[in-house]
């Protein structure tokens, strides 16, 4: 979107609310739904990549050192990565913003 949605007036919307801008879902930062965030303990991490694989929002990326982190603009704090992490390297902590 060219501007935040709360700034659109009714007559500025496309007919039928059609979205004619390709791929603009990327601009919609869904991470602010989150109440918890994953925190990695790299000393326990075996770099298996299961967290990366299981993340339903593809919000986990690999760092140059081969460890994993969540992109907090998209991570919704669902906790699937923490649940699936075999060595227990991911802890969900309250995300106070």
């Amino acid at each position: 979107m060219a501007k935040p949605m709360e700034q659109y007036k009714w007559h500025e919307l496309n007919v039928g609310c059609v979205i004619d801008e390709v791929g603009n879902a990327r601009e919609y930062k869904t991470g602010d739904w989150r109440s918890q965030k994953p925190v990695w303990n790299d000393s326990k991490c075996i770099k298996c990549g299961l967290c990366w694989l299981y993340c339903p929002d593809a919000a986990i990326y690999q760092t140059e050192e081969g460890f994993y982190r969540a992109n907090l603009e998209y991570c919704k704090g669902c906790g699937i990565c923490s649940k699936e992490c075999k060595p227990g390297a991911i802890k969900m902590v309250e995300d106070v913003r």
Binding site: M5, W10, H11, L13, G16, C17, V18
Partner: protein, 389 residues
């Protein structure tokens, strides 16, 4: 050159869709709509109509397929009745919200239960606030002309809304009437091919029917409502252009003998012919009654109605649907709010007639005029004409 022939109104409705060169028809047969879609499928099967006929398993799927076809840029037509319209109900809102110019012939029929295949307006009154433009027809010629006009209204860039053309089940759909069909050449010139503002195409991807957060939903619905209200101007223009080209003139609100009378009936659909007969009969006895016919029901033609209502003293609102627990029938409630908002002093009466195909006689309206029925008023705000007590 035009041709006039005696033809069943349902068949005439499908020929009107053929003349409009519809490209997709998705429909499920239901009495009394059946002949319309049967004939359309024949026209497609015989190669007389270059369209895709989608056989679907329900009306819910019929309207869904119509939405998809219209979103892809096809001129789309369907038709249904009663339970079929109810099964389509949620998709009706999607068609209007997505601003898809689908045209549907709604053959008005009573809703079950008890099961009835016969005509009344309980189906359309349950779907009246779905955001569609709604036209009502009194005779077969109006059905044909309205279907052709409906596409031109719906597809106008300032409208882009679906249009329902309502015709009464059996008493209109199954009668044989003399109907004048415009030539294909004249229809083509009046109704050029549909050029969508947006369409689903891989060369230019768009998203339709997306999610709206609370921050946007109000603005989205306000934009849609404004388009519906403003469509009246286009409807009037299209009716005027149709009149110039084809010599048959329509208006959102039409009248009969209203200039001579303090009293008028207001009604939708084919019963208007019976009321006209009653008015002629009254006139021959030196009594004057008028008739206000709503050709356009949505958007509600407030200004046009006020112009004919303002000098009346007494109005009888005649409707073919039970109020369902409301104070009065739907049309009455809207006219009452219009009269109240404009501080008019008019006595309003509400009559329910013709439910589930019950015959309606001109004599009933003569009794209404003579206040023979009003005298029997009980706890209800409305009278159900002919109910056995």
């Amino acid at each position: 050159m035009t041709t006039k022939k005696g033809i069943e109104v349902s068949i005439a409705a499908s020929i009107a869709a053929q003349l409009a060169r519809v490209e997709v028809v998705a429909a499920y047969p239901i009495t009394p709509q059946t002949h319309i879609v049967e004939h359309l499928s024949e026209l497609v099967a015989n190669g007389e109509l270059e369209a895709v006929y989608i056989n679907v398993e329900s009306e819910h799927s019929a309207m869904s397929a119509c939405c998809g076809a219209s979103a892809a840029g096809a001129r789309t037509f369907t038709s249904t009745s009663a339970q079929g319209l109810e099964l389509m109900h949620e998709i009706l809102f999607i068609a209007s919200g997505m601003r898809l110019p689908i045209v549907m012939a709604t053959v008005n029929r009573a809703l079950s239960s008890p099961l009835s295949i016969w005509g009344d307006h309980s189906d359309i009154m349950a779907a009246r606030d779905t955001g569609w433009i709604m036209l009502f027809c009194e005779n077969g010629q109006e059905v044909v002309d309205s279907i052709i006009m409906a596409f031109k209204i719906a597809e106008n860039r300032n409208v882009l809304l679906p249009v329902m053309v309502n015709l009464d089940g059996f008493s209109l759909s199954h009668v044989i009437e003399p109907i004048e069909f415009p030539s294909q050449k004249d229809v083509d010139s009046f109704l050029p091919p549909y050029k969508p503002l947006y369409s689903l195409h891989p060369d230019k991807p768009v998203t339709m029917g997306a999610y709206a957060m609370p921050e946007l939903y109000t603005e989205a619905k306000y934009a849609q409502e404004t388009a519906l209200i403003n469509s009246k101007k286009v409807i009037i223009d299209v009716m005027a252009e149709f009149g110039e080209r084809f010599g048959r003139h329509y208006k959102p609100v039409e009248t009969y003998n209203t200039e001579n009378a303090d009293f008028a009936f207001i009604c939708l659909g084919s019963i208007n012919e019976n009321i006209s007969t009653a008015i002629d009969e009254l006139k021959s006895n030196g009594k004057e009654a008028g008739l206000i016919k709503l050709r356009l029901f949505r958007p509600f033609p407030k200004d046009e109605l006020l112009a004919v209502l303002k000098d009346k003293k007494r109005i009888a609102i005649v409707e073919r649907a039970m109020p369902g627990g409301a104070a009065n029938s739907p049309l009455y409630n809207e006219i009452a709010s219009l009269i109240y908002a404009n501080k008019l002093h008019i006595t309003l009466e509400n009559y329910i007639v013709g439910l589930g195909g019950r015959d309606v006689h001109p004599e009933d309206f003569i009794d209404v005029f003579d206040m023979k029925i009003a005298a029997k008023k009980d706890n209800n705000n409305y009278n159900v004409i002919g109910v056995r007590e």
